[in-house]
């Protein structure tokens, strides 16, 4: 299948920001447009995480199958009903205590994409598992400039103990490159824009080909790699692991330089999107821009895999946007208070409007006979079911997109109790072309569509 070029007239119109070379690609000779689209029908894998569980009575549809009634919380996705299914009964066993006591929030965040049971530690010997997006990224990420993107609206937690003796690395990171290396999220829209479309895009400068900083980038990376190699021998084991992490990142970036024929740059390319100024103060605005960039990244085939964390797990944010002044986590321990449960439901609905926004953006992008949303497999949900009980079975999960037409959506699938969430992930991995017969705690593949 030949790569289809996106006509500049379709998405790149008028003025906006001059697209300069993405930072790490500046050395390369351009050969294909950065705005080239994915080959037709290429599958994308996306995740959208919300913390603290749901008010489940407002979430779960009463009826199974395609004739289910949208519940109060699900109403926001009515326009996309045909392209979304509600999956109930899925379980995240790794998030359970298994003798480790409290810490459900940290475990839920860490386990949501890994299916692993994170080791209880405040720092030493962090141990989780590789996440599903990273398995896919390692298999197919080489086809795009970014193997994957990890996005969010919050940075890592700032201080204190995040949850009952668990390091904040667990509750702040969905994506894990391997059992010990979480992948930090990008939460600054300006920085994300620069990564995607070039750091010079802001002022319309085209990169100076003679810029020696960029000219020597490669030899510098070679040089520091050599240095790291020499250094490693003189270090102890735990230190060597850190150096390995450093060397991995250096190589990864070098590879990306090598992959720069996937990118491009012609003077005058313009993306019809203004470079964000930074991190907006308003949550709504912040979220909107991040989801726009989520869409643009997939649309421009900069990557095919994205994880997005609306808030860190256990977040106690007050949603003043919907007149909720209590903290989300605090409310989630509702003690059966009807008033608190209504407030949680309200927050849940607020989150759903954000998902609906993303779905609308994705669905507005045409890719051949389908839309970008059709070509997605997007999982929305939380690693906790009811926030008061901290249970990890019967998770609130939506599965969006038709996997490039491979499945029929628009139904409520109720899985047998204790069906691992990883069964769904295993199915998704298979669709992405990853050859594996297990993932996380999977026991098989879900039957879907």
């Amino acid at each position: 299948m030949s790569a289809k070029r996106l006509s500049r007239r379709t998405i790149l119109r008028a003025s906006g920001v001059c697209l300069a070379l993405p930072l790490l690609e500046a050395m390369a000779t351009p050969s294909r447009s950065v705005l080239a689209m994915a080959p037709e029908g290429k599958l994308r894998m996306g995740f959208f995480y919300v913390p603290n569980g749901k008010h489940m009575p407002d979430w779960t549809p009463a009826e199974e199958g395609p004739k289910y009634q949208l519940t109060k919380t699900l109403e926001a996705i009515a326009p996309f009903r045909q392209k979304v299914s509600v999956l109930t009964g899925l379980t995240l066993d790794g998030a359970r205590a298994h003798g480790d006591g409290g810490g459900d929030h940290a475990r839920s965040g860490a386990a949501f994409l890994t299916g692993a049971h994170p080791r209880k530690t405040d720092g030493a010997d962090i141990q989780n598992g590789i996440s599903v997006d990273q398995v896919a990224a390692q298999a197919i990420g080489g086809d795009t400039r970014f193997a994957s993107l990890e996005l969010g609206l919050e940075g890592s937690a700032q201080s204190g103990n995040c949850d009952s003796g668990y390091s904040c690395a667990y509750s702040s990171n969905l994506s894990w490159r391997n059992a010990t290396s979480p992948l930090a999220k990008e939460n600054n829209p300006a920085a994300l824009f620069d990564r995607l479309f070039g750091s010079n895009a802001s002022n319309g400068k085209t990169p100076d080909a003679k810029d020696h900083a960029q000219r020597y980038r490669k030899s510098i990376l070679d040089s520091v790699l050599e240095e790291a190699n020499g250094l490693k021998k003189s270090l102890g084991q735990s230190d060597q692991r850190k150096l390995d992490e450093y060397m991995y990142s250096v190589r990864e970036v070098e590879n990306r330089l090598g992959r720069s024929d996937l990118v491009v740059k012609t003077d005058g390319d313009r993306v019809d999107y203004a470079r964000p100024a930074g991190v907006p103060k308003e949550l709504d605005e912040h979220c909107r821009i991040m989801l726009d960039l989520y869409t643009l990244a997939l649309q421009t085939d900069s990557t095919r895999i994205i994880s997005f964390m609306f808030a860190n797990e256990g977040s106690n944010r007050a949603y003043t946007q919907v007149e909720i002044s209590e903290g989300h986590h605090e409310l989630s321990h509702h003690g059966k208070s009807g008033e608190k449960q209504e407030k949680i439901a309200k927050i849940n609905r607020y989150h759903m409007t954000k998902l609906a926004y993303l779905l609308a953006k994705l669905d507005a992008v045409e890719e051949g006979s389908r839309t970008l949303l059709d070509n997605c497999m997007l999982v929305y949900g939380s690693g906790i079911s009811d926030g008061d009980r901290h249970n990890h079975d019967d998770l609130p999960i939506l599965f969006c997109g038709t996997a490039a037409g491979r499945i029929r959506q628009a139904t409520h699938l109720k899985f047998p109790k204790e069906t691992p969430l990883c069964n769904l992930y295993l199915w998704m991995l298979t669709q992405m072309g990853v050859k594996t017969d297990s993932f996380g705690d999977s026991q098989g593949v879900v039957r879907i569509g």
Binding site: L23, G101, S159, S164, G165, L243
Partner: protein, 778 residues
């Protein structure tokens, strides 16, 4: 947090008060045989009182008491056993509805656990622990870049990847380096090096050459072979586009047929105007170069060589005298120096980094080496080895060989050094111990680096480097002086902001969004003032070298007008923070500062639980056990109703919750006179505030003043130890472990003897083995 003898803390103190139990806290030696015998007696007791829940497949918390065959296995699972002992001691376990353990058996069990788990002997070279190599976190990166290069790089504050472990963001184990961060480092290195060093615009060269035959001749001669041969008056010339006005060097290679009484003469002519006369006495076949400097205007110029003194005489008898000019080659060469940047226009950073510039080709290598070496030493925070310096000198030379300037080559080296693992990580090499200890000592430079990042969150300054080079930093007297100096230095504000900001969770205050309806007076200015109060207060204890106990209770604080009014204190005017007496108020010490009261609240109300937990976690170092997972019991229960206190009492009625909440809640209730943003109040809505509570053992506490007195009278040691533990954790960048007991106890002892002076705590931490030696992980 730390897993040793926790029960000497609040829980134990309470227990001792009520039951009069004594606990053996002296030196403990593990006599294996005796311990085994004791275990045979203790295990059945444990199974009798706890086995219902803690044995078999479904054992609660995964604690299967029947599985431990001998004391060795207990030592291996010492963390679990320390928790067990803590919970038994605090009457958390067995839960209230179960049969309590009789006092005698309890002592037997606890003493056994203590002996089995605390087999650490401080006299015998205890393990100083191993810190995982620490990447600079974003604050350290920004500070270090500033001190290394003079460039401020605020973008660093948005770097991702600084996760928190053990309450702090400088813990080696959790500081990862994902590719996204490396990308940002690359971008930063390029920006910083370009800002730091100014590369002068490169000079330009212009050169054109003609062979004689390429020159034009209108009359008087012709091209002959490679020559322009002028046999009579005439000019050999060429047009040239002169790129810039200035001096050009014209080299004419010429010879002549000599005849008559003078040598061949020629003139260099520009646009028809003779500039200089050339005397060309050399014969044909022996060309010579004649150089002339021309000042040319830019634009198209005609440059010619005119033959001036043609001479021809034929004496009629076959003897001819003929004078001719042969122009063989012409070179025109101009060089324009790069614009020199005046010293006054160079940024400070440039002057600091480029201490020397070569004067010519001869000393380029020496200058390169000089500059690179100094830069590498400083970037690596130690003298770099010859091969390390060679690597970066080689990089500079590669750049120079590509025709770039000296400055550009140093710019590239700086760019590289900022990406070097030895800059990004604080490397401490493995080495063999030299003294009597089986653990190696840090070298002086590593020590300087540890101290400097501890107190300043940045690289050592010149004075520390100098002392390290002279191996004087480990000298106790000098070390003490340095610590005094460093604590007084402005850079120690970084310690206050980074340590206190995390220890007391003030960074979370930035995200705190109290309800606008309920707390309309709360705004960002007030938020900042609250933080500022706590930072300034702590800094004053630090800089004035006061007793650390002042943190717990003081009769002063620092306020500006806005915050003073918020507190209801009169007579403070203006934006400026100043020391304000708290005599006659209920406030005093950290715990009644609005920053802490707010950060432990929910957006719409106070949370006595969070406040109580804050006291236990951060002031007393006895974190309560985590809430049970799943909280399934609540599912079966109805909705909780009534006032906050009543709801909490209903919650406490649940035995699974009671054990911990009976510790947390009373501590938090005592602070109920402060609302969710830290303002004094007598009512919560319509209800009168009830700030009373009862700790286990019947200890009653009502109100903030009484709580402060209780903490000071009964738990002063516990607070001091907690502060030491937190500071030590922050300073060495790892969680503490049981073997750190020795270091902590020693620091505590020294601190007591110095009337708790702040600098003594810092000094003793720096002096400790945990800080100065390289041990192993267990």
């Amino acid at each position: 947090m730390i897993f040793y003898r926790r029960y000497i803390g609040i829980i134990a103190a309470v227990l001792i008060v009520i039951s009069g139990l004594g606990m053996s806290t002296g030196e403990l030696t593990a006599d294996d045989a005796k311990l085994s015998t004791r275990w045979q007696a203790v295990q059945p007791l444990l199974i009798q009182y706890c086995g219902d829940c803690h044995s078999g497949e479904d054992a609660q918390a995964g604690v299967r008491l029947e599985k431990f065959a001998n004391p060795g296995q207990i030592l291996q699972a010492r963390k679990t056993w320390l928790k067990i002992s803590q919970q038994i001691e605090a009457n958390i376990m067995p839960p209230a509805q179960s049969e309590p353990i009789p006092a005698a058996d309890k002592v037997k069990i606890l003493e056994f656990i203590q002996d089995a788990t605390n087999a650490i002997n401080c006299v015998k070279d205890p393990n100083p622990g191993k810190v995982t190599v620490r990447r600079l976190n974003r604050f350290e990166y920004a500070n270090t870049v500033r001190d290394l290069t003079g460039v401020e790089y605020p973008k660093a504050y948005e770097f991702p990847g600084d996760d928190v472990g053990y309450g702090f963001d400088n813990i080696g184990d959790v500081l990862t380096l994902p590719p996204i961060l490396l990308e940002k480092y690359i971008e930063a290195a390029e920006e910083i090096s370009k800002t730091a060093i100014v590369v002068p615009p490169a000079g330009k060269k212009h050169k054109t050459e003609w062979t004689g035959s390429q020159l034009k001749i209108d009359k008087g001669g012709r091209a002959s072979g490679n020559f322009a041969s002028l046999s009579s008056a005439g000019e050999a010339y060429a047009f040239e586009q002169i790129p810039w006005a200035g001096a050009y060097r014209l080299v004419v290679t010429a010879s002549g047929d000599q005849a008559g009484d003078e040598p061949v003469k020629a003139a260099v002519v520009v646009d028809g105007k003779p500039i200089k006369t050339l005397i060309i006495p050399n014969k044909r076949g022996e060309p010579k170069e004649y150089a002339v400097t021309l000042r040319l205007k830019s634009g198209r110029r005609k440059i010619g060589i005119e033959f001036l003194n043609d001479f021809y005489r034929d004496d009629g008898n076959g003897k001819k005298q003929d004078r001719n000019l042969m122009v063989e080659h012409v070179t025109l060469e101009g060089e324009k120096a790069g614009a020199k940047i005046a010293d006054s226009e160079l940024p400070e950073s440039h002057k600091r980094l480029i201490l020397q510039t070569p004067t010519g080709e001869n000393d380029t290598e020496a200058a390169t080496r000089q500059v690179v070496q100094r830069l590498t030493n400083r970037a690596f925070r130690r003298p770099a080895t010859a091969s390390e310096i060679d690597r970066w000198v080689g990089m500079a030379q590669q750049v120079q060989a590509d025709g770039e300037s000296f400055e550009a080559s140093i710019q590239v080296v700086l760019q590289g050094l900022l990406l070097s693992p030895q800059f990004l990580f604080r490397i401490e090499k493995q080495r063999n111990p030299t003294g009597s200890s089986k653990y190696a000592q840090l070298d002086e430079f590593e020590l300087a680096t540890r101290i400097s990042y501890f107190l300043w969150s940045t690289m050592p300054d010149d004075e520390l480097f100098r002392l390290a080079a002279k191996k004087q930093l480990s000298d106790p007297q000098i070390l003490r002086e340095q610590i005094q100096r460093m604590l007084k230095d402005r850079r120690a504000n970084q310690f206050v902001e980074n340590f206190v900001g995390q220890w007391l969770q003030l960074r979370k205050l930035d995200e705190f969004q109290p309800s606008k309806q309920q707390f309309p007076q709360f705004n960002d200015a007030l938020r900042n003032a609250m933080k500022r109060e706590t930072f300034t207060f702590f800094a004053s204890v630090m800089r004035n070298d006061e007793s650390v106990l002042n943190l717990l209770d003081s009769d002063y604080t620092y306020l500006n007008q806005a915050l003073a009014e918020f507190y209801g204190i009169r007579g403070v005017e203006g934006e400026q923070f100043r020391r304000v007496s708290l005599d006659g108020t209920v406030r005093g010490g950290l715990l009644t500062q609005a920053s802490i009261l707010a950060v432990t609240s929910n957006p719409t109300r106070t949370s006595p639980v969070k406040r109580g937990k804050f006291v236990l976690d951060n002031l007393l170092g006895t974190p309560p056990p985590a809430a049970p997972p799943g909280v399934p019991e609540l599912k079966e229960k109805g909705e909780l109703t009534g006032t906050l206190r009543q709801r909490m009492e209903q919650h406490r009625a649940d035995p699974a919750c009671a054990a911990c909440h009976q510790l947390m809640d009373p501590l938090g209730f005592a602070l109920e006179n402060f609302d969710a943003v830290g303002r004094w109040r007598l009512k919560d809505g319509v209800d009168d505030i009830d700030a009373s509570g009862e700790l286990p053992g019947g200890i009653k506490v009502e109100g903030a003043v009484a709580l402060r007195k209780l903490l000071k009278d009964k738990y002063q040691d516990r607070f001091v130890r907690c502060l030491i533990e937190k500071t030590l954790t922050y300073s060495i960048g790892r969680g503490l472990d049981y073997y750190d007991l020795c270091a902590v106890e020693n620091i505590e002892q020294q601190l007591k003897q110095s009337d708790y002076r702040f600098s003594t705590m810092v000094y003793e931490i720096v002096r400790s083995d945990a800080f100065q030696k390289i041990g192993s992980r267990e």
